[in-house]
């Protein structure tokens, strides 16, 4: 395991022994009197000076969160103050959510970071108070007079350290906003706080490096076009070896009907590549006229975790490329935050996409009226429609070696509302699907613990803490139903859940939904299948034993 995380037994013991508010302790301490602590495993490395210069971000320098002096720029208080003022004008949500919280505490034990750390400042209400206390000191006039009364405080360097710590212990997953009686969305606060921190050069390399890469090469990993193609072609070879079928993806092809965009993690990361193989098999199976772009080769958007402007800038490539290639519409792969951007931001930021057509499935004729303006369809919607119309030849017994459960990704469930489609697909391609406990799925799903750009190796301790509620729910179904496959529709999940499972639930592997689709697809002219896309043996012989789905 990572040197940045304590041993599991040690963490488990701490969970039970350390006095925290979750267990009724620390009640007589004020949160603003508790010091900020940085140690190995709970902070992300800051952006490298050359990365900041490349994307034109302020205050490039070498520093670390454990430094006493963070080398903030001259007049940083004014930068933050003016920055907040500007954003209060631009976002009603920010102003409203800073003003209206009644601190009822409904959100307090809903955050995965609070549940995994017991740290009171990880209660969403206090996370917002970190900013709110400064806002109250500077803005609404009456509360200014009544300082101690309304809990306001001055902006100091110590407060900046606290912000840096706790606004990167929030994955913008919005679970708290489901439970809030006023619908207060901590993600709105965190996003603005991160924007403010970026203004004074307090940042995170695990976010800014992908941002810079994505800007230049089109994808997070900085893969240049020829390597991008090579990588997919090597997956094509693997598919041929396993199934005897040669799939023919095309790249940057003008006049294709559909542009397919997926997170680059599906092209380069294990186990994302198996999901990519699933897509390729599916598209071949139905004879889809599609192309993949090397320029818009990233579905994900780390701009969402940086600033509004950066999100818009990176996202602009999707429509720009769709227009250049003269496709009819865009099909999007499995990803969480990508779909938050596509569903709730894209058309508003970079639309209207009048050069595209209202999406229609060329196979079933189904009109995706719910995507009429954005003109982008989610692959789970697309595949669910194919299956419903009987257009796929599927053999779910080919996934009999997998006893699955489904992890709803935070953005797809709470920022889009896509809950049924992936379940429908999963039920069609495997015989053993087991839901996790009801308070941990669908709109109440727990985050993987590493989303929103904190999937850094050096952040491992916090990731294992933040992912604990999710892992705990998986363990329940592992015990009850011998689940060994955690299926997701998010590329960040596919990167973050494997180490989480290795830590808390060894024996549970992480799969993409379309990897299972790829396993189950009976291709015309295929060689007999004995291995799944990971070259693990399928359990085709024990038919009939596994029908408790």
């Amino acid at each position: 395991m990572s040197k940045y995380a304590p041993r599991k037994a040690q963490l488990a013991r701490e969970f039970l022994e350390k006095p925290t508010p979750l267990k009724g302790a620390q009640a007589d301490r004020e949160w603003w009197e508790m010091p900020v602590d940085f140690h190995d495993g709970n902070w992300c490395f800051p952006g490298k000076p050359e990365t900041l210069k490349e994307i034109g971000f302020p205050n490039p320098r070498k520093w670390a969160a454990t430094d006493e002096d963070w080398q903030l720029p001259d007049g940083w208080q004014k930068i933050i103050h003016d920055g907040l003022k500007e954003r209060l004008k631009k976002f009603r949500s920010l102003k409203l959510y800073l003003d209206a919280c009644v601190r009822c505490g409904a959100c307090a034990d809903k955050c995965h970071f609070f549940l995994g750390s017991g740290d009171p400042k990880n209660m969403p209400v206090i996370r917002a108070e970190l900013l709110r206390s400064v806002y109250r000191n500077d803005f609404p006039m009456v509360e200014k007079i009544l300082k101690g009364f309304s809990g306001s405080r001055k902006l100091t360097a110590e407060v900046i350290k606290e912000w840096h710590s706790y606004f990167y212990q929030c994955t913008e997953c919005r679970r708290c906003s489901v439970f809030c009686p006023l619908g207060i969305d901590t993600a709105e606060i965190t996003m603005v706080a991160r924007e403010l921190l970026n203004l004074i050069g307090v940042n995170n390399n695990w976010i800014l490096a992908p941002v810079a890469n994505c800007n230049r090469t089109g994808n997070h990993l900085g893969i240049e076009p020829h390597t991008f193609v090579q990588n997919i072609m090597s997956l094509v070879d693997d598919i041929e070896e396993l199934t005897g079928i040669t799939v023919n993806p095309t790249f940057n092809r003008k006049g294709a009907e559909i542009l397919f965009i997926t997170p680059s993690g599906d092209v380069f990361g294990d186990p994302g590549v198996y999901t990519m193989m699933g897509y390729l098999l599916l598209f071949h199976h139905i004879g889809l006229d599609y192309t993949i772009s090397t320029y818009a080769s990233e579905g994900g958007n780390f701009g969402l975790f940086t600033t509004n402007d950066m999100m818009k800038k990176l996202n602009a490539k999707m429509y720009h490329e769709a227009e250049r290639l003269k496709v009819k519409w865009i099909l999007g792969g499995e990803c969480g935050h990508m779909w938050r951007v596509v569903h709730q931001y894209m058309a508003t930021m970079n639309g209207p996409a009048d050069f595209l057509e209202e999406p229609v499935s060329p196979i079933t004729g189904t009109k995706f009226t719910n995507a009429a303006a954005t003109k982008m369809v989610h692959i789970a919607e697309f595949t669910a429609d194919l299956i419903k119309h009987g257009k796929l030849k599927l053999d779910p017994t080919r996934n009999n070696h997998l006893r699955t459960t489904f992890h709803d990704s935070c953005n797809v469930s709470r920022g889009m509302g896509m809950l049924e489609e992936p379940r429908f697909v999963l039920n069609a391609v495997c015989n053993s699907f087991n839901e996790m406990p009801e308070n941990t799925i669908r709109e109440k799903t727990f985050c993987c613990g590493s989303g929103s750009g904190i999937n850094a190796e050096e952040f491992m301790e916090m990731r294992m803490r933040g992912g604990f509620p999710r892992a705990n729910a998986v363990r329940t179904v592992k015990k009850q139903h011998q689940v060994n496959a955690l299926v997701t529709i998010c590329a960040i999940d596919r990167a973050t859940l494997p180490p989480l499972m290795r830590y808390w639930n060894p024996g549970v592997a992480v799969y993409g939904l379309h990897e299972l689709v790829g396993n189950a697809l009976v291709m015309e002219g295929e060689t007999p299948r004995t291995e799944d896309l990971r070259e693990n043996p399928m359990a085709i012989a024990d038919e009939g034993e596994d029908d408790d789905a």
């Binding site: 004008k89 003003d99 906003s177 619908g183 800038k313 209207p352």
Partner: protein, 331 residues
């Protein structure tokens, strides 16, 4: 515990001021006419200003928190309440929040057991307490309409009858008086007893609870214990709503305590978290339809931005692209 006692002392002092002033200095005109008018003005102007102050800021993005299945394929059952796709649906969603505290109804309590194992239990206490508190206050407020009309409207009388059907005391006991006190006690007690809540709470969270508690106790005192002259009160109130500046008649001092605390609440209201009363209608995670892929949402400050175009990209990678057999725009 400073954050509990300070607001308690403040409310006690606030209650004492009119009592002393009216009893010993005969300042009933100040407390019966001038302060109530000033408070009403501050409340109305302040409330409207706060609403305007929120409304003038744009909602740039449709950031709905979807708590149920979105509208998608015809055969997938949409959750119209938790993921509405129309404005009407969103309005219904907001109303269920306002009237029934729907999101609070979801509340759970997490417990860490040995294992370590997280267990979530349904926890409806806050929902019940909150609902009892707010609904009682509403009914009590409506009941007070009888002081403002010669002949109160029929539905007000109906509410009064329903509220007092137990007829325990004379004058008839109002159930909401008891309910609101129990709910208030619960809301204060949970802030003190639950470690999470105690850390979260500020003085400004206890103050309005104590203030409302003071108002309720003074009001109940007048009705059930220390009788005041109802006719004079009604005359004063009807005078106030018809913008008369007539001096109040002989009313017991307790009434002025009640009225002064209400005035303080009205003044405090627009500058405090009590504005959640207006905010709940405006929350963009709840009041927008989840149709952002279907209909274009406009952002008033959206400007065309600079980004790295395909042409710039090809310029940098053209040779590599050609070698990889990728089509290029320029040779």
């Amino acid at each position: 515990m400073k954050k509990v006692f300070m607001p308690l002392i403040m409310v006690a002092l606030l209650a004492l001021i009119p009592y002393v002033a009216v009893t010993y200095a005969n300042m009933s005109y100040l407390f019966g006419v001038i302060i109530p008018y000033a408070a009403a003005f501050i409340f109305i102007a302040g409330f409207l200003w706060r609403l305007f102050d929120w409304l003038r800021r744009p909602v740039p993005f449709p950031i709905v928190t979807t708590c149920g299945q979105e509208k998608s394929l015809d055969w997938v059952k949409q959750n119209h309440l938790e993921s509405p796709s129309t404005r009407f649906g969103a309005a219904v969603r907001v109303l269920t929040e306002v009237l029934f505290f729907r999101s609070l109804f979801r509340n759970t309590k997490a417990e860490l057991h040995t294992g370590p194992e997280l267990v979530y239990a349904s926890s409806k206490w806050l929902w019940m307490g909150g609902l009892a508190f707010h609904w009682s206050l509403l009914i009590i407020g409506l009941r007070h309409a009888r002081f403002f009309f010669i002949e109160p409207p029929a539905f007000i009388t109906a509410i009064e009858h329903a509220d007092s059907f137990l007829e325990l005391t004379l004058p008839a006991f109002f159930m909401t008086d008891a309910i609101v006190l129990v709910a208030l006690t619960f809301l204060v007690a949970r802030r003190i007893r639950d470690a999470k809540l105690r850390i979260i709470s500020l003085q400004t969270d206890f103050f309005p609870l104590f203030l409302i508690g003071g108002i309720v106790l003074a009001g109940m005192g007048m009705r059930y214990l220390e009788k005041v002259d109802i006719l004079s009160i009604k005359a004063l109130m009807m005078g106030l709503v018809s913008f008369s500046f007539d001096a109040p008649g002989e009313i017991g001092a307790l009434f002025f305590v009640h009225l002064f605390l209400v005035s303080m609440l009205a003044i405090y209201f627009p500058f405090s978290k009590l504005m959640h009363m207006g905010a709940i209608f405006l929350s963009p995670t709840r009041n927008l339809p989840n149709n952002s892929r279907e209909k274009l949402h406009k952002n008033p400050w959206n400007k065309p931005g600079k980004f790295r175009t395909y042409a710039e990209y090809e310029e940098e990678f053209r040779e590599k692209m050609k070698k990889a057999g990728l089509p290029v725009e320029k040779d």
